[in-house]
Protein backbone atom coordinates (compact mmCIF):
# COMPACT_ATOMS: atom_id res chain seq x y z
CA UNK A 1 0.00 0.00 0.00
CA UNK A 2 1.20 3.52 -0.71
CA UNK A 3 0.48 6.45 1.58
CA UNK A 4 0.88 10.19 1.24
CA UNK A 5 3.81 11.89 2.94
CA UNK A 6 1.28 13.92 4.90
CA UNK A 7 -0.48 10.81 6.25
CA UNK A 8 2.77 9.09 7.21
CA UNK A 9 4.14 12.18 8.93
CA UNK A 10 0.88 12.51 10.83
CA UNK A 11 1.40 9.00 12.20
CA UNK A 12 4.93 9.94 13.25
CA UNK A 13 3.68 13.20 14.75
CA UNK A 14 1.04 11.41 16.81
CA UNK A 15 3.50 8.82 18.12
CA UNK A 16 5.93 11.57 19.05
CA UNK A 17 3.18 13.58 20.77
CA UNK A 18 2.32 10.57 22.92
CA UNK A 19 5.98 9.83 23.69
CA UNK A 20 6.92 13.40 24.55
CA UNK A 21 3.76 13.95 26.54
CA UNK A 22 4.45 10.82 28.61
CA UNK A 23 8.11 11.65 29.09
CA UNK A 24 7.22 15.20 30.16
CA UNK A 25 5.39 13.66 33.14
CA UNK A 26 8.42 11.76 34.45
CA UNK A 27 10.10 14.61 36.33
CA UNK A 28 6.92 15.98 37.90
CA UNK A 29 6.04 12.44 39.05
CA UNK A 30 9.46 11.96 40.64
CA UNK A 31 9.24 15.39 42.29
CA UNK A 32 5.78 14.60 43.67
CA UNK A 33 4.09 17.37 41.68
CA UNK A 34 1.97 14.71 40.01
CA UNK A 35 0.45 12.29 42.52
CA UNK A 36 -2.22 10.45 40.53
CA UNK A 37 -0.90 7.01 39.50
CA UNK A 38 0.37 7.33 35.90
CA UNK A 39 0.75 4.17 33.85
CA UNK A 40 2.93 5.58 31.11
CA UNK A 41 2.33 4.51 27.53
CA UNK A 42 5.93 5.00 26.29
CA UNK A 43 6.88 2.11 24.01
CA UNK A 44 3.33 1.23 22.94
CA UNK A 45 2.61 4.36 20.85
CA UNK A 46 2.27 2.53 17.55
CA UNK A 47 -0.81 0.66 18.79
CA UNK A 48 -2.91 3.66 19.80
CA UNK A 49 -1.67 5.67 16.81
CA UNK A 50 -2.32 3.00 14.19
CA UNK A 51 -5.75 2.12 15.57
CA UNK A 52 -6.66 5.78 16.06
CA UNK A 53 -5.76 6.52 12.42
CA UNK A 54 -8.16 3.82 11.25
CA UNK A 55 -11.06 5.36 13.18
CA UNK A 56 -13.22 8.41 12.59
CA UNK A 57 -14.15 11.01 15.17
CA UNK A 58 -17.66 9.48 15.55
CA UNK A 59 -16.25 6.05 16.48
CA UNK A 60 -15.87 5.01 20.11
CA UNK A 61 -12.90 3.89 22.16
CA UNK A 62 -12.83 2.59 25.73
CA UNK A 63 -9.55 2.31 27.58
CA UNK A 64 -7.85 1.08 30.71
CA UNK A 65 -5.27 2.14 33.30
CA UNK A 66 -2.65 2.76 30.57
CA UNK A 67 -4.68 4.97 28.26
CA UNK A 68 -2.97 8.35 27.83
CA UNK A 69 -2.06 7.19 24.32
CA UNK A 70 -5.57 6.02 23.45
CA UNK A 71 -7.01 9.35 24.54
CA UNK A 72 -4.54 11.42 22.50
CA UNK A 73 -4.66 9.23 19.40
CA UNK A 74 -8.47 9.43 19.34
CA UNK A 75 -8.38 13.21 19.35
CA UNK A 76 -8.46 14.03 23.07
CA UNK A 77 -7.01 17.40 23.98
CA UNK A 78 -3.50 17.19 25.47
CA UNK A 79 -3.89 20.27 27.65
CA UNK A 80 -7.09 18.93 29.23
CA UNK A 81 -5.36 15.59 29.84
CA UNK A 82 -2.27 17.01 31.51
CA UNK A 83 -4.44 19.36 33.57
CA UNK A 84 -6.41 16.29 34.70
CA UNK A 85 -3.20 14.53 35.66
CA UNK A 86 -2.25 17.58 37.74
CA UNK A 87 -5.68 17.39 39.42
CA UNK A 88 -6.94 20.67 38.02
CA UNK A 89 -10.50 21.94 37.46
CA UNK A 90 -9.61 22.51 33.78
CA UNK A 91 -8.83 18.81 33.40
CA UNK A 92 -10.90 16.67 31.06
CA UNK A 93 -12.61 15.15 34.12
CA UNK A 94 -12.45 18.37 36.15
CA UNK A 95 -9.85 16.92 38.49
CA UNK A 96 -12.27 14.23 39.73
CA UNK A 97 -10.81 11.39 37.71
CA UNK A 98 -7.04 11.71 37.46
CA UNK A 99 -4.80 9.81 35.08
CA UNK A 100 -7.01 6.71 35.04
CA UNK A 101 -10.32 8.44 34.18
CA UNK A 102 -9.80 10.45 31.02
CA UNK A 103 -12.78 11.30 28.85
CA UNK A 104 -13.58 13.20 25.68
CA UNK A 105 -17.06 12.17 24.51
CA UNK A 106 -17.01 14.67 21.61
CA UNK A 107 -14.03 12.74 20.22
CA UNK A 108 -15.45 9.32 21.03
CA UNK A 109 -13.20 8.73 24.04
CA UNK A 110 -16.10 7.24 25.97
CA UNK A 111 -14.53 5.92 29.12
CA UNK A 112 -11.25 4.90 30.71
CA UNK A 113 -11.01 2.99 33.99
CA UNK A 114 -8.35 1.00 35.86
CA UNK A 115 -10.48 -1.98 36.90
CA UNK A 116 -8.92 -4.66 34.70
CA UNK A 117 -11.47 -5.56 31.99
CA UNK A 118 -13.81 -2.95 33.49
CA UNK A 119 -14.58 -1.24 30.20
CA UNK A 120 -14.82 -4.34 27.99
CA UNK A 121 -18.51 -4.82 28.80
CA UNK A 122 -19.13 -1.07 28.55
CA UNK A 123 -17.59 -1.08 25.08
CA UNK A 124 -19.78 -4.09 24.30
CA UNK A 125 -22.84 -2.07 25.32
CA UNK A 126 -21.81 0.89 23.20
CA UNK A 127 -21.54 -1.48 20.23
CA UNK A 128 -24.99 -2.84 21.09
CA UNK A 129 -26.25 0.75 21.10
CA UNK A 130 -24.70 1.31 17.65
CA UNK A 131 -26.50 -1.78 16.39
CA UNK A 132 -29.88 -0.88 17.90
CA UNK A 133 -29.67 2.69 16.56
CA UNK A 134 -28.36 1.40 13.21
CA UNK A 135 -25.44 3.86 13.32
CA UNK A 136 -22.37 3.68 11.13
CA UNK A 137 -19.92 3.53 14.03
CA UNK A 138 -17.37 1.15 15.44
CA UNK A 139 -16.21 0.62 19.04
CA UNK A 140 -12.67 -0.28 20.04
CA UNK A 141 -12.10 -1.88 23.44
CA UNK A 142 -8.46 -1.59 24.55
CA UNK A 143 -7.22 -3.99 27.21
CA UNK A 144 -3.97 -5.69 28.15
CA UNK A 145 -2.74 -9.26 28.40
CA UNK A 146 -3.67 -9.20 32.10
CA UNK A 147 -7.34 -8.83 31.14
CA UNK A 148 -7.30 -12.32 29.62
CA UNK A 149 -7.59 -13.59 33.20
CA UNK A 150 -10.97 -11.91 33.70
CA UNK A 151 -14.20 -13.83 32.98
CA UNK A 152 -16.05 -10.82 31.63
CA UNK A 153 -13.80 -10.79 28.57
CA UNK A 154 -15.07 -14.21 27.53
CA UNK A 155 -18.69 -13.33 28.32
CA UNK A 156 -18.26 -10.26 26.12
CA UNK A 157 -16.61 -12.15 23.26
CA UNK A 158 -19.52 -14.56 23.26
CA UNK A 159 -22.22 -11.90 23.30
CA UNK A 160 -20.48 -9.74 20.68
CA UNK A 161 -20.21 -12.70 18.34
CA UNK A 162 -23.76 -13.85 19.05
CA UNK A 163 -25.20 -10.43 18.17
CA UNK A 164 -22.61 -9.56 15.50
CA UNK A 165 -21.71 -6.30 17.20
CA UNK A 166 -19.35 -3.74 15.62
CA UNK A 167 -16.58 -4.02 18.22
CA UNK A 168 -12.83 -4.50 17.93
CA UNK A 169 -11.26 -6.29 20.89
CA UNK A 170 -7.79 -4.72 20.95
CA UNK A 171 -5.45 -6.63 23.24
CA UNK A 172 -2.11 -4.91 23.85
CA UNK A 173 0.11 -7.75 24.94
CA UNK A 174 3.10 -6.09 26.59
CA UNK A 175 4.05 -9.44 28.16
CA UNK A 176 3.48 -8.31 31.77
CA UNK A 177 0.41 -7.91 33.94
CA UNK A 178 1.82 -5.56 36.55
CA UNK A 179 4.85 -7.56 37.76
CA UNK A 180 3.92 -11.00 36.45
CA UNK A 181 5.36 -12.19 33.14
CA UNK A 182 2.90 -13.79 30.76
CA UNK A 183 4.29 -17.30 31.36
CA UNK A 184 3.11 -17.05 34.93
CA UNK A 185 -0.46 -16.11 34.07
CA UNK A 186 -1.27 -18.43 31.16
CA UNK A 187 -0.14 -21.76 29.77
CA UNK A 188 -0.48 -20.49 26.22
CA UNK A 189 1.06 -17.26 24.98
CA UNK A 190 -1.04 -17.08 21.81
CA UNK A 191 -3.67 -14.72 23.14
CA UNK A 192 -5.22 -14.10 19.73
CA UNK A 193 -6.45 -17.69 19.75
CA UNK A 194 -8.90 -16.98 22.57
CA UNK A 195 -11.29 -15.48 20.00
CA UNK A 196 -11.43 -18.69 17.95
CA UNK A 197 -13.97 -20.65 20.02
CA UNK A 198 -16.32 -17.69 19.66
CA UNK A 199 -15.94 -17.71 15.87
CA UNK A 200 -14.48 -14.21 15.90
CA UNK A 201 -12.04 -13.16 13.18
CA UNK A 202 -8.67 -12.74 14.89
CA UNK A 203 -5.20 -11.35 14.12
CA UNK A 204 -1.82 -11.01 15.76
CA UNK A 205 0.34 -8.11 14.66
CA UNK A 206 3.63 -6.44 15.51
CA UNK A 207 2.39 -3.72 17.81
CA UNK A 208 5.57 -1.72 17.37
CA UNK A 209 5.04 -1.35 13.62
CA UNK A 210 2.59 1.50 13.17
CA UNK A 211 1.78 0.67 9.53
CA UNK A 212 1.07 -2.96 10.31
CA UNK A 213 -1.16 -1.85 13.18
CA UNK A 214 -2.94 0.66 10.96
CA UNK A 215 -3.55 -1.79 8.13
CA UNK A 216 -4.94 -4.50 10.39
CA UNK A 217 -7.06 -2.02 12.31
CA UNK A 218 -8.43 -0.64 9.07
CA UNK A 219 -9.36 -4.12 7.91
CA UNK A 220 -11.10 -4.72 11.24
CA UNK A 221 -12.95 -1.40 11.07
CA UNK A 222 -14.19 -2.19 7.55
CA UNK A 223 -15.33 -5.61 8.68
CA UNK A 224 -17.26 -4.09 11.60
CA UNK A 225 -18.81 -1.37 9.43
CA UNK A 226 -20.01 -3.94 6.92
CA UNK A 227 -21.94 -5.76 9.67
CA UNK A 228 -19.76 -8.87 9.85
CA UNK A 229 -19.42 -8.60 13.61
CA UNK A 230 -16.52 -8.33 16.01
CA UNK A 231 -12.78 -8.64 15.34
CA UNK A 232 -10.02 -9.52 17.79
CA UNK A 233 -6.49 -8.16 17.39
CA UNK A 234 -3.51 -8.98 19.57
CA UNK A 235 -0.74 -6.37 19.40
CA UNK A 236 2.69 -7.56 20.50
CA UNK A 237 4.41 -4.69 22.24
CA UNK A 238 6.35 -3.66 25.34
CA UNK A 239 6.23 -0.84 27.85
CA UNK A 240 9.44 1.11 28.33
CA UNK A 241 8.53 2.35 31.80
CA UNK A 242 7.35 0.70 34.99
CA UNK A 243 3.88 -0.72 35.47
CA UNK A 244 3.02 2.53 37.20
CA UNK A 245 5.25 5.57 37.27
CA UNK A 246 8.53 6.06 35.46
CA UNK A 247 10.28 3.01 36.88
CA UNK A 248 8.96 0.50 39.37
CA UNK A 249 12.48 0.05 40.74
CA UNK A 250 12.84 3.66 41.76
CA UNK A 251 9.69 3.76 43.81
CA UNK A 252 11.11 2.00 46.82
CA UNK A 253 10.06 -1.56 46.14
CA UNK A 254 11.54 -3.70 43.46
CA UNK A 255 8.45 -4.76 41.55
CA UNK A 256 9.81 -4.75 38.00
CA UNK A 257 11.37 -8.16 37.52
CA UNK A 258 11.90 -7.75 33.79
CA UNK A 259 15.33 -8.99 32.67
CA UNK A 260 17.75 -6.30 31.52
CA UNK A 261 18.54 -7.98 28.20
CA UNK A 262 14.84 -8.27 27.43
CA UNK A 263 14.35 -4.55 28.06
CA UNK A 264 17.36 -3.72 25.88
CA UNK A 265 16.14 -5.93 23.05
CA UNK A 266 12.75 -4.18 23.07
CA UNK A 267 14.34 -0.72 23.23
CA UNK A 268 15.93 -1.60 19.89
CA UNK A 269 12.42 -2.14 18.55
CA UNK A 270 11.28 1.34 19.61
CA UNK A 271 8.26 2.08 17.40
CA UNK A 272 9.35 5.69 16.86
CA UNK A 273 12.94 4.87 15.87
CA UNK A 274 11.74 2.12 13.57
CA UNK A 275 9.22 4.31 11.81
CA UNK A 276 11.67 7.20 11.47
CA UNK A 277 14.12 4.81 9.84
CA UNK A 278 11.40 3.65 7.46
CA UNK A 279 10.52 7.22 6.49
CA UNK A 280 14.18 8.08 5.84
CA UNK A 281 15.03 4.87 3.96
CA UNK A 282 12.04 5.32 1.69
CA UNK A 283 12.97 8.94 1.02
CA UNK A 284 9.72 10.20 2.45
CA UNK A 285 10.91 12.55 5.17
CA UNK A 286 14.13 14.44 5.78
CA UNK A 287 15.90 15.49 8.97
CA UNK A 288 14.38 18.93 8.45
CA UNK A 289 10.90 17.45 8.45
CA UNK A 290 11.61 15.58 11.67
CA UNK A 291 13.02 18.72 13.27
CA UNK A 292 9.88 20.63 12.39
CA UNK A 293 7.63 17.91 13.82
CA UNK A 294 9.78 17.73 16.94
CA UNK A 295 9.61 21.49 17.47
CA UNK A 296 5.87 21.56 16.99
CA UNK A 297 5.30 18.74 19.49
CA UNK A 298 7.74 20.20 21.99
CA UNK A 299 5.91 23.52 21.91
CA UNK A 300 2.55 21.80 22.43
CA UNK A 301 3.80 19.64 25.31
CA UNK A 302 5.47 22.59 27.04
CA UNK A 303 2.43 24.80 26.67
CA UNK A 304 0.15 22.03 27.97
CA UNK A 305 2.36 21.46 31.01
CA UNK A 306 2.63 25.20 31.72
CA UNK A 307 -1.12 25.60 31.54
CA UNK A 308 -1.73 22.56 33.73
CA UNK A 309 0.74 23.65 36.42
CA UNK A 310 -0.70 27.14 36.61
CA UNK A 311 -4.41 26.43 36.50
CA UNK A 312 -6.53 26.16 39.67
CA UNK A 313 -7.52 23.01 41.52
CA UNK A 314 -11.20 22.24 42.22
CA UNK A 315 -12.79 24.32 44.98
CA UNK A 316 -13.17 22.57 48.32
CA UNK A 317 -16.87 23.47 48.46
CA UNK A 318 -17.41 21.53 45.23
CA UNK A 319 -16.42 18.21 46.84
CA UNK A 320 -19.80 16.56 46.30
CA UNK A 321 -20.62 18.19 42.97
CA UNK A 322 -21.23 15.67 40.15
CA UNK A 323 -22.29 12.73 42.35
CA UNK A 324 -25.59 12.97 40.50
CA UNK A 325 -26.41 14.61 37.21
Amino acid sequence: MTYSKDFLEKLYWMMLRIRMCEESLVDPILKGEIKTPCHLYSGQEAVATGVGAALEQKDYVFGNHRSHGHYLAKGGDMTAMIAEIYGKEAGCSRGRGGSMHLISPENGVMGIVPIVSGTISLALGSALSIKIKKEDKVTVSFFGDGATGEGVLYESLNFASLKKLPIIFACENNLYSTHLPINEIRTNRNIFNIANPFEIETYRVDGNNVLEVYETAQKAVESCRSGKGPVFIEFLTYRFRGHVGPDDNIQGTHTDIRPKDEIEAWLKKDPLTQFKKYLIENNISTEIDFEQIQNKVEAEVNAANDFAKNSPKPNKEDLCKYVFK
Binding site: C92, H101, S121, L128, F159, Y322
Partner: protein, 327 residues
Protein backbone atom coordinates in the same frame (compact mmCIF):
# COMPACT_ATOMS: atom_id res chain seq x y z
CA UNK B 1 -57.79 7.11 28.08
CA UNK B 2 -58.21 7.16 31.81
CA UNK B 3 -60.03 4.62 33.89
CA UNK B 4 -59.26 5.18 37.52
CA UNK B 5 -60.74 1.95 38.79
CA UNK B 6 -58.98 -0.43 36.50
CA UNK B 7 -57.15 -3.05 38.54
CA UNK B 8 -53.75 -4.40 37.59
CA UNK B 9 -51.48 -6.77 39.40
CA UNK B 10 -47.91 -5.80 40.23
CA UNK B 11 -46.29 -7.54 37.26
CA UNK B 12 -48.67 -6.08 34.71
CA UNK B 13 -48.18 -2.61 36.16
CA UNK B 14 -44.44 -2.92 35.49
CA UNK B 15 -45.21 -4.36 32.07
CA UNK B 16 -47.35 -1.33 31.23
CA UNK B 17 -44.66 1.11 32.42
CA UNK B 18 -42.01 -0.51 30.24
CA UNK B 19 -44.31 -0.76 27.25
CA UNK B 20 -45.41 2.87 27.47
CA UNK B 21 -41.83 4.09 27.89
CA UNK B 22 -40.66 2.00 24.93
CA UNK B 23 -43.50 3.41 22.83
CA UNK B 24 -42.60 6.96 23.88
CA UNK B 25 -38.81 6.78 23.61
CA UNK B 26 -36.94 4.81 20.93
CA UNK B 27 -33.78 4.74 23.02
CA UNK B 28 -35.39 2.62 25.76
CA UNK B 29 -34.60 -1.07 25.58
CA UNK B 30 -34.86 -4.10 27.87
CA UNK B 31 -32.10 -6.65 28.30
CA UNK B 32 -31.61 -9.57 30.66
CA UNK B 33 -31.83 -13.24 31.24
CA UNK B 34 -35.31 -14.62 30.72
CA UNK B 35 -37.14 -11.64 29.23
CA UNK B 36 -38.79 -14.06 26.82
CA UNK B 37 -39.73 -16.50 29.56
CA UNK B 38 -42.58 -16.12 32.07
CA UNK B 39 -40.77 -18.74 34.17
CA UNK B 40 -38.17 -16.02 34.86
CA UNK B 41 -40.06 -12.75 34.78
CA UNK B 42 -43.72 -13.70 35.25
CA UNK B 43 -46.05 -11.47 33.30
CA UNK B 44 -43.81 -8.39 33.46
CA UNK B 45 -42.58 -8.80 29.89
CA UNK B 46 -45.82 -10.00 28.28
CA UNK B 47 -46.05 -8.96 24.65
CA UNK B 48 -42.89 -6.86 24.64
CA UNK B 49 -40.85 -8.99 22.22
CA UNK B 50 -43.86 -9.20 19.92
CA UNK B 51 -44.34 -5.44 19.94
CA UNK B 52 -40.75 -4.18 19.90
CA UNK B 53 -38.77 -7.04 18.41
CA UNK B 54 -35.68 -8.87 19.60
CA UNK B 55 -33.42 -5.87 18.94
CA UNK B 56 -35.01 -3.95 21.82
CA UNK B 57 -36.12 -6.83 24.05
CA UNK B 58 -32.98 -8.90 24.38
CA UNK B 59 -32.89 -12.26 26.11
CA UNK B 60 -29.32 -13.13 26.98
CA UNK B 61 -26.90 -15.89 27.82
CA UNK B 62 -26.11 -16.39 31.51
CA UNK B 63 -23.43 -13.68 31.65
CA UNK B 64 -24.52 -11.26 34.37
CA UNK B 65 -21.30 -9.25 34.42
CA UNK B 66 -21.05 -8.63 30.67
CA UNK B 67 -24.77 -8.08 30.17
CA UNK B 68 -25.06 -5.61 33.04
CA UNK B 69 -21.93 -3.86 31.78
CA UNK B 70 -23.41 -3.77 28.29
CA UNK B 71 -26.51 -2.06 29.66
CA UNK B 72 -24.27 0.51 31.36
CA UNK B 73 -22.17 0.97 28.22
CA UNK B 74 -25.26 1.40 26.04
CA UNK B 75 -26.53 4.07 28.44
CA UNK B 76 -23.17 5.86 28.24
CA UNK B 77 -23.60 5.82 24.46
CA UNK B 78 -27.05 7.44 24.64
CA UNK B 79 -29.51 4.59 25.18
CA UNK B 80 -31.86 4.10 28.14
CA UNK B 81 -31.23 0.54 29.18
CA UNK B 82 -33.33 -1.50 31.58
CA UNK B 83 -31.37 -4.57 32.64
CA UNK B 84 -33.33 -7.16 34.57
CA UNK B 85 -31.98 -9.76 36.98
CA UNK B 86 -34.88 -12.06 37.84
CA UNK B 87 -33.02 -13.26 40.91
CA UNK B 88 -31.11 -10.54 42.70
CA UNK B 89 -28.58 -13.05 44.04
CA UNK B 90 -27.06 -13.38 40.57
CA UNK B 91 -26.38 -9.67 40.35
CA UNK B 92 -23.44 -10.14 42.69
CA UNK B 93 -21.59 -11.23 39.54
CA UNK B 94 -22.27 -7.73 38.21
CA UNK B 95 -21.20 -5.49 41.08
CA UNK B 96 -18.36 -4.09 39.00
CA UNK B 97 -20.53 -2.47 36.31
CA UNK B 98 -23.06 -1.28 38.90
CA UNK B 99 -20.81 -0.03 41.69
CA UNK B 100 -17.42 0.65 40.10
CA UNK B 101 -18.73 1.88 36.78
CA UNK B 102 -22.31 3.23 36.69
CA UNK B 103 -22.42 4.67 40.20
CA UNK B 104 -19.07 6.46 39.88
CA UNK B 105 -19.37 7.36 36.22
CA UNK B 106 -20.74 10.90 36.38
CA UNK B 107 -18.51 11.92 39.28
CA UNK B 108 -15.22 10.42 38.13
CA UNK B 109 -15.71 11.90 34.66
CA UNK B 110 -16.31 15.36 36.09
CA UNK B 111 -19.92 15.48 34.88
CA UNK B 112 -18.91 14.99 31.24
CA UNK B 113 -20.70 11.66 30.87
CA UNK B 114 -23.45 9.76 32.66
CA UNK B 115 -24.93 6.29 32.82
CA UNK B 116 -28.75 6.55 33.06
CA UNK B 117 -29.45 2.85 33.36
CA UNK B 118 -32.16 1.00 35.31
CA UNK B 119 -30.99 -2.08 37.20
CA UNK B 120 -34.23 -3.97 37.81
CA UNK B 121 -33.59 -6.61 40.44
CA UNK B 122 -36.19 -9.06 41.71
CA UNK B 123 -35.96 -10.57 45.18
CA UNK B 124 -37.18 -14.13 45.51
CA UNK B 125 -38.02 -15.62 48.83
CA UNK B 126 -39.65 -18.51 50.57
CA UNK B 127 -40.49 -21.88 49.09
CA UNK B 128 -37.39 -23.46 50.67
CA UNK B 129 -35.19 -21.77 48.07
CA UNK B 130 -32.38 -21.30 50.64
CA UNK B 131 -29.48 -18.90 50.85
CA UNK B 132 -28.72 -18.10 47.20
CA UNK B 133 -32.25 -17.61 45.91
CA UNK B 134 -33.62 -15.44 48.70
CA UNK B 135 -31.43 -12.47 49.45
CA UNK B 136 -32.62 -8.88 49.84
CA UNK B 137 -29.57 -6.78 48.97
CA UNK B 138 -31.05 -3.28 48.82
CA UNK B 139 -28.91 -1.89 51.66
CA UNK B 140 -25.73 -2.76 49.74
CA UNK B 141 -26.83 -0.56 46.87
CA UNK B 142 -28.12 2.20 49.15
CA UNK B 143 -24.59 2.42 50.58
CA UNK B 144 -23.07 3.48 47.25
CA UNK B 145 -22.90 7.16 46.25
CA UNK B 146 -24.22 7.82 42.77
CA UNK B 147 -26.98 5.21 42.85
CA UNK B 148 -30.64 5.87 43.51
CA UNK B 149 -32.57 2.93 44.95
CA UNK B 150 -36.34 2.53 44.70
CA UNK B 151 -38.41 -0.23 46.30
CA UNK B 152 -42.15 0.06 45.58
CA UNK B 153 -44.79 -1.98 47.38
CA UNK B 154 -47.95 -1.42 45.31
CA UNK B 155 -48.76 -1.89 41.61
CA UNK B 156 -49.60 1.84 41.38
CA UNK B 157 -46.18 2.81 42.72
CA UNK B 158 -44.43 0.10 40.71
CA UNK B 159 -45.68 1.60 37.46
CA UNK B 160 -44.98 5.20 38.46
CA UNK B 161 -41.55 4.45 39.85
CA UNK B 162 -40.55 2.34 36.84
CA UNK B 163 -41.50 5.26 34.59
CA UNK B 164 -39.51 7.67 36.78
CA UNK B 165 -36.55 5.30 36.91
CA UNK B 166 -36.42 5.07 33.12
CA UNK B 167 -36.72 8.85 32.80
CA UNK B 168 -34.06 9.47 35.47
CA UNK B 169 -30.71 10.87 34.32
CA UNK B 170 -28.78 8.83 36.88
CA UNK B 171 -28.44 5.08 37.44
CA UNK B 172 -31.35 3.65 39.41
CA UNK B 173 -31.61 0.33 41.20
CA UNK B 174 -35.27 -0.73 41.03
CA UNK B 175 -35.77 -3.53 43.54
CA UNK B 176 -38.99 -5.41 43.89
CA UNK B 177 -39.98 -8.65 45.49
CA UNK B 178 -41.71 -11.69 44.03
CA UNK B 179 -44.01 -11.70 47.08
CA UNK B 180 -45.41 -8.39 45.84
CA UNK B 181 -46.50 -9.87 42.54
CA UNK B 182 -49.72 -11.27 44.01
CA UNK B 183 -50.99 -7.79 44.89
CA UNK B 184 -53.60 -5.91 42.86
CA UNK B 185 -54.33 -2.23 42.80
CA UNK B 186 -56.08 0.49 40.84
CA UNK B 187 -53.56 1.55 38.21
CA UNK B 188 -54.36 4.37 35.76
CA UNK B 189 -53.83 3.49 32.11
CA UNK B 190 -52.14 6.77 31.27
CA UNK B 191 -48.44 7.18 31.94
CA UNK B 192 -47.56 8.87 35.23
CA UNK B 193 -44.55 9.27 37.49
CA UNK B 194 -43.99 8.71 41.19
CA UNK B 195 -41.16 11.03 42.21
CA UNK B 196 -37.95 9.28 43.28
CA UNK B 197 -37.07 10.21 46.87
CA UNK B 198 -40.64 10.72 48.09
CA UNK B 199 -42.36 8.49 50.62
CA UNK B 200 -46.07 8.41 51.37
CA UNK B 201 -48.13 8.35 54.58
CA UNK B 202 -50.43 5.35 54.14
CA UNK B 203 -52.08 5.66 57.53
CA UNK B 204 -52.22 8.62 59.87
CA UNK B 205 -51.94 8.11 63.59
CA UNK B 206 -50.41 9.36 66.83
CA UNK B 207 -49.45 6.20 68.70
CA UNK B 208 -46.17 5.51 66.89
CA UNK B 209 -44.45 5.88 63.50
CA UNK B 210 -43.97 2.73 61.45
CA UNK B 211 -41.60 3.06 58.48
CA UNK B 212 -41.30 0.37 55.84
CA UNK B 213 -40.90 -0.31 52.12
CA UNK B 214 -41.19 -3.04 49.51
CA UNK B 215 -42.67 -6.35 50.69
CA UNK B 216 -42.49 -5.43 54.38
CA UNK B 217 -44.84 -2.54 53.63
CA UNK B 218 -47.57 -5.13 52.95
CA UNK B 219 -46.94 -6.80 56.30
CA UNK B 220 -46.84 -3.34 57.88
CA UNK B 221 -50.21 -2.45 56.41
CA UNK B 222 -51.69 -5.65 57.86
CA UNK B 223 -50.19 -4.78 61.24
CA UNK B 224 -51.60 -1.26 61.08
CA UNK B 225 -55.08 -2.56 60.17
CA UNK B 226 -55.06 -5.07 63.02
CA UNK B 227 -53.90 -2.47 65.56
CA UNK B 228 -56.59 -0.10 64.34
CA UNK B 229 -59.20 -2.69 65.31
CA UNK B 230 -57.68 -2.63 68.79
CA UNK B 231 -57.99 1.15 68.88
CA UNK B 232 -54.31 1.88 68.24
CA UNK B 233 -53.61 4.36 65.45
CA UNK B 234 -50.14 3.95 64.06
CA UNK B 235 -48.78 6.38 61.50
CA UNK B 236 -47.47 4.26 58.65
CA UNK B 237 -44.98 5.58 56.08
CA UNK B 238 -44.15 3.62 52.93
CA UNK B 239 -40.80 5.04 51.81
CA UNK B 240 -41.01 3.82 48.18
CA UNK B 241 -37.43 5.11 47.70
CA UNK B 242 -34.59 4.13 50.03
CA UNK B 243 -31.89 6.30 48.41
CA UNK B 244 -32.23 9.25 48.65
CA UNK B 245 -34.33 8.82 51.80
CA UNK B 246 -37.33 11.06 52.35
CA UNK B 247 -36.08 12.23 55.74
CA UNK B 248 -38.63 15.01 55.93
CA UNK B 249 -41.62 12.66 55.98
CA UNK B 250 -39.94 10.50 58.66
CA UNK B 251 -38.92 13.44 60.88
CA UNK B 252 -42.34 15.09 60.65
CA UNK B 253 -44.02 11.92 61.83
CA UNK B 254 -41.54 11.06 64.58
CA UNK B 255 -41.79 14.62 65.90
CA UNK B 256 -45.52 13.97 66.26
CA UNK B 257 -45.44 10.44 67.70
CA UNK B 258 -42.06 10.28 69.47
CA UNK B 259 -41.83 6.55 68.68
CA UNK B 260 -40.30 4.78 65.71
CA UNK B 261 -40.46 1.23 64.39
CA UNK B 262 -38.79 0.29 61.11
CA UNK B 263 -39.68 -2.87 59.20
CA UNK B 264 -36.94 -3.72 56.73
CA UNK B 265 -36.95 -6.98 54.74
CA UNK B 266 -33.22 -7.52 54.97
CA UNK B 267 -30.59 -8.35 57.59
CA UNK B 268 -30.32 -6.04 60.56
CA UNK B 269 -26.62 -5.19 60.48
CA UNK B 270 -25.82 -2.34 58.10
CA UNK B 271 -29.48 -2.09 57.11
CA UNK B 272 -31.61 0.76 55.81
CA UNK B 273 -33.40 0.41 59.16
CA UNK B 274 -30.08 1.12 60.86
CA UNK B 275 -29.52 4.17 58.69
CA UNK B 276 -32.95 5.58 59.46
CA UNK B 277 -32.39 4.98 63.18
CA UNK B 278 -29.08 6.83 63.04
CA UNK B 279 -30.57 9.77 61.14
CA UNK B 280 -33.41 10.15 63.65
CA UNK B 281 -31.06 9.95 66.63
CA UNK B 282 -28.61 12.33 65.00
CA UNK B 283 -31.15 14.95 63.97
CA UNK B 284 -34.30 14.80 66.13
CA UNK B 285 -33.17 12.88 69.22
CA UNK B 286 -35.03 15.23 71.53
CA UNK B 287 -38.38 14.10 70.14
CA UNK B 288 -37.89 10.40 70.91
CA UNK B 289 -39.90 9.04 73.82
CA UNK B 290 -38.84 5.40 73.50
CA UNK B 291 -36.07 3.26 72.01
CA UNK B 292 -36.27 2.74 68.26
CA UNK B 293 -37.34 -0.76 67.23
CA UNK B 294 -36.11 -2.53 64.11
CA UNK B 295 -37.93 -5.49 62.60
CA UNK B 296 -35.37 -7.10 60.30
CA UNK B 297 -34.13 -10.52 59.31
CA UNK B 298 -31.73 -12.16 61.72
CA UNK B 299 -28.08 -11.96 60.65
CA UNK B 300 -28.25 -15.39 59.08
CA UNK B 301 -28.58 -16.74 55.55
CA UNK B 302 -32.03 -17.85 54.42
CA UNK B 303 -32.61 -21.47 55.39
CA UNK B 304 -34.29 -24.10 53.26
CA UNK B 305 -36.38 -26.21 55.62
CA UNK B 306 -39.87 -24.89 56.20
CA UNK B 307 -39.62 -25.32 59.98
CA UNK B 308 -36.91 -22.65 60.26
CA UNK B 309 -37.79 -20.69 57.14
CA UNK B 310 -41.14 -19.85 58.69
CA UNK B 311 -39.49 -18.07 61.61
CA UNK B 312 -36.78 -16.47 59.45
CA UNK B 313 -39.13 -14.12 57.61
CA UNK B 314 -40.82 -11.43 59.67
CA UNK B 315 -44.57 -10.93 59.51
CA UNK B 316 -47.25 -8.55 60.75
CA UNK B 317 -47.13 -10.32 64.11
CA UNK B 318 -43.47 -9.41 64.61
CA UNK B 319 -44.28 -5.81 63.70
CA UNK B 320 -47.25 -5.67 66.09
CA UNK B 321 -45.10 -7.14 68.87
CA UNK B 322 -42.36 -4.54 68.27
CA UNK B 323 -44.86 -1.69 68.27
CA UNK B 324 -46.51 -2.88 71.48
CA UNK B 325 -43.14 -3.08 73.22
CA UNK B 326 -42.74 0.69 72.99
CA UNK B 327 -46.32 1.89 73.24
Amino acid sequence: MCSNNRKLNFGLAINEAIRQMMETDDTVFLIGQGVKSPWYVGNTCNGLVEQFGEERVIDTPVSENAITGAAVGASIAGMKAIVVHPRVDFVLYAFDPIVNQAANWHYMNGGKSSAPVVFWLIVNRGGEQAAQHSQALHSMFAHVPGLKVVAPSTPYDAKGLMVSSIMEENPVVFIDDRWLYRSQDAVPEEMYQIPIGKGIVRNEGNAATLVSFSYMALESQKAVDELKEQGIDVEFIDLRTIKPLDTEIIYNSVKKTGKLIIADGSWKTGSVAGEISALVVENIFEYLKAPIKRVCLPDAPAPASESIESVYYKTKDDIIKAIKEIL
